[in-house]
């Protein structure tokens, strides 16, 4: 398959995976503080293979307390979807940017318009957790021509036949939901995190990254035993909310990198 057919995000992630590298995708809420673009660069420098950038929504249904807080903080600073994309267009951090947001913001802006803005700002993928398989066609039709890959989620509760249909429709990577719950740090990695990754990698060649409930370097390494990569959100965002700054963020992501590389 050519890069044009599978899109920039997936061809980049496949290339890294096929070279034997585990994929590390940290999450940061766009506009959370005035240094967030500096943080992006720091994350890329610390070994991220792609970065997930949240566009904050007033009612983040699948997010726990930490990302709710970062979303509210960002919205209070006047963050808008077009503002986040305009900010992103001013930087080139050298790794793919994937936005994560809720469908109402996409719908309100208009599929074509915001897909065009994403492309113009260098975004190569989108995760829209409240837009499941049955509802995704309208958005995906607008996103694909703009080289914005639509990343779909598979949950521990997803049955096999449905999982196959989702994998066939997911581009960039498949987001494997690590546990039945909302985003948030967990002291112990759920058994479901490794199980769901095994189930998905068995049926698809698209890279499979596990997110939700992966909080520490050890957990990230454990997940990567069965997954192609890992998404870490709340554990990083909490540190940013506590004021760790770009250096602290880079240090934490560097520790995740070291752990999954050692594993």
């Amino acid at each position: 398959m050519s890069a044009v057919e599978i899109g920039t995000l997936e061809s980049r992630l496949r290339a890294s995976r096929d070279a034997g590298r585990k994929l590390l995708i940290p999450y940061i809420t766009g506009g959370v503080d005035d240094q967030w673009l500096v943080t992006l660069e720091a994350l890329a420098g610390a070994g991220a293979d792609a970065i997930e950038v949240g566009i904050p929504f007033s009612d983040p249904m699948i997010d726990g307390a930490t990302i709710q807080e970062s979303s509210l903080r960002s919205l209070a600073r006047g963050t808008t979807p077009e503002g986040v994309l305009a900010d992103l267009s001013r930087v080139d951090v050298g790794v793919p940017i994937v936005v994560m947001t809720y469908y109402n913001l996409i719908y309100r802006a208009g599929h074509e318009r915001i897909a065009g803005s994403m492309h113009a700002s260098g975004v190569t993928g989108a995760i829209i957790p409240d837009l499941p398989l049955e509802e995704v066609d309208g958005w995906a039709a607008a996103a694909e021509p703009e080289d914005v890959a639509t990343v779909l989620l598979v949950a521990p509760s997803t049955p096999e036949d449905r999982m196959a249909a989702i994998c066939a429709r997911s581009h960039g990577f498949v987001y494997a939901v690590g546990r039945m719950g909302v985003t948030g740090e967990q002291a112990v990695l759920a058994d479901s995190a490794r199980q769901v990754a095994s189930r998905i990698t068995a049926i698809t060649d698209v890279p499979v990254c596990v997110g939700i409930g992966v909080s520490t370097p050890d957990q990230a390494a454990a997940v990567c035993e069965t997954a192609d990569g890992v998404v870490v959100g709340s554990a990083l965002v909490r540190r940013l909310l506590e004021g760790c700054g770009p250096e602290g963020a880079a240090e934490f992501v560097g520790s995740l990198r070291a752990a999954i590389d050692a594993g």
């Binding site: 929504f57 007033s58 009612d59 983040p60 249904m61 699948i62 726990g64 307390a65 709710q68 509210l72 919205l75 808008t80 979807p81 077009e82 809720y102 469908y103 109402n104 913001l105 996409i106 719908y107 309100r108 802006a109 957790p129 409240d130 837009l131 499941p132 398989l133 049955e134 509802e135 779909l152 989620l153 598979v154 949950a155 521990p156 509760s157 997803t158 049955p159 449905r162 989702i166 939901v177 039945m180 719950g181 909302v182």
Partner: protein, 401 residues
């Protein structure tokens, strides 16, 4: 006055596997919840086609819930307004509102699905009290999510739920009202879906909830149509009026009239939360519907005297009924609601819930302006009783004088 619609299309019918009412509805939930929604839809379709399920539901609603609720003809208030005013008395149902119809249905369904726990969101507390009641009746655990602002406005309902054995969790995120309680209940459901049924309180949320809750509430409309025909020599009311936040009592009474009669249907929203009147289409809480939002799609906080109508959206079937013109949507402000509350108390000896007083407030306005022709027959769904609101009304009246 009875006129059957000639149209072959069913206005309030089955929204099909995608849960669409026209362009509204759908199932916009995270993947973790999609299998649970599909399982619920299958279980509901199966139960709704099962005479034994209906027999048990009807028996409980009658012997425990106090159904059928009467239709009361208002003598003094009719004369004052110059219309023939009828009230469908959901305030007389057990727990004091129409909410019981839905929770008995969902409780039976949860038991049939082998779920041992219920979670629910509540605004005014009516649905929370009803859910706690159903949980007690069926021997289930119950957790109710309630905005912190609402736990303060409706302190006594919190205590009622606790007396009934439920746990009330105050929600401190966002605007701390009904929409945030829904967010939190959905979040909790993701983590507990194996053994827990989410007992959603209105005709909103992801498919099958808008349809399922309407079906459970349609008992109001089916009873009322028959009761009106008895009172009106086989005729139907000219207007059927109900308040709408999420819109379950309105959907329930409309279901008896939308297809079977030519009665005009009017839903009355709170001016501070008027999704159909002032909102635009969007996606929230699993559904595409009319929502109050800003120009970028952030959901705005609704503001109303009534916690039960403090919701920035409305059920998707209402957005559809407005779209096709089968129902009208009007808004009244808090002052009109207070006047209606007091007028019904003084002329008929009935304290309505502040939510229900919205419906009467519009009828008062429209009857006085001549928008409702003199002598028209108007059926209002009196969705709940006002005991829960007495302390708040006292404080407001003190503030006014």
């Amino acid at each position: 006055m009875t006129t059957e619609f000639a149209s072959k299309e069913i206005t309030m019918g089955d929204p099909g596997p995608t849960g669409r009412f026209g362009t509204f509805g759908g199932r916009y939930v995270p993947e973790s919840l999609v299998p649970a929604c599909i399982e619920l839809e299958e279980a509901f379709r199966d139960a709704w086609a099962d005479p034994a399920f209906h027999a048990e539901l009807d028996h409980i609603l009658k012997s425990y819930g106090g159904r059928p609720t009467p239709v009361t003809e208002c003598g003094r208030l009719s004369r004052e307004l110059g219309v023939r005013l009828l009230l469908k008395r959901e305030d007389l149902a057990h727990t004091g509102s129409h909410k019981l119809n839905n929770v008995i249905g969902q409780g039976l369904l949860a038991r049939r699905m082998g779920k041992s726990k219920l979670i629910a969101e509540t605004g005014a507390g009516q649905h929370g009290v009803a859910s706690a009641t159903a949980a007690a009746l069926f021997g289930m655990e119950c957790i109710v999510y309630m905005g912190e602002v609402d736990t303060q406005r409706q302190e006594l309902n919190v205590f009622r739920m606790e007396l009934l054995g439920a746990t009330v969790v105050p929600v401190t995120s966002g605007s701390r009202t009904l929409k945030d309680a829904v967010n939190e209940a959905m979040r909790a459901w993701v983590a507990t879906v194996d053994d827990t049924h989410y007992c959603l309180g209105s005709v909103m949320g992801p498919h099958p909830y808008p349809w399922m809750v309407r079906q459970f509430q349609s008992v109001i409309g089916h009873e009322a149509r028959g009761q009106c025909r008895d009172l009106l020599d086989g005729g139907d009311p000219d207007l059927v009026v109900a308040c709408a936040g999420g819109g379950s009592n309105a959907a329930g009474i409309f279901a008896g009239f939308a297809d079977a009669t030519a009665s005009a249907l009017v839903a009355v929203e709170a001016a501070g939360g008027a999704a159909v009147t002032t909102g635009i289409p969007g996606i929230l809480h699993g559904m595409r519907s009319a929502l109050i939002q800003d120009e970028t799609g952030q959901i705005l906080e609704a503001e109303s005297i009534s916690a039960g109508l403090d919701y920035p959206g409305i059920g998707p079937e209402h957005a559809h009924l407005a779209d096709i013109g089968r129902a009208r949507y009007e808004a009244v402000d808090d002052h009109e609601v207070m006047d209606a509350f007091q007028l019904l108390a003084r002329t008929e000896g009935i304290l309505p819930a502040l939510e229900s007083a919205h419906a009467l407030a519009w009828v008062m306005r429209a009857a006085r302006s001549g928008e409702i022709a003199a002598g028209s027959t108007v059926l209002i769904n009196l969705s709940g009783r006002g005991d829960k609101d007495v302390a708040q009304v006292r404080d407001i009246l003190k503030g006014r004088s």
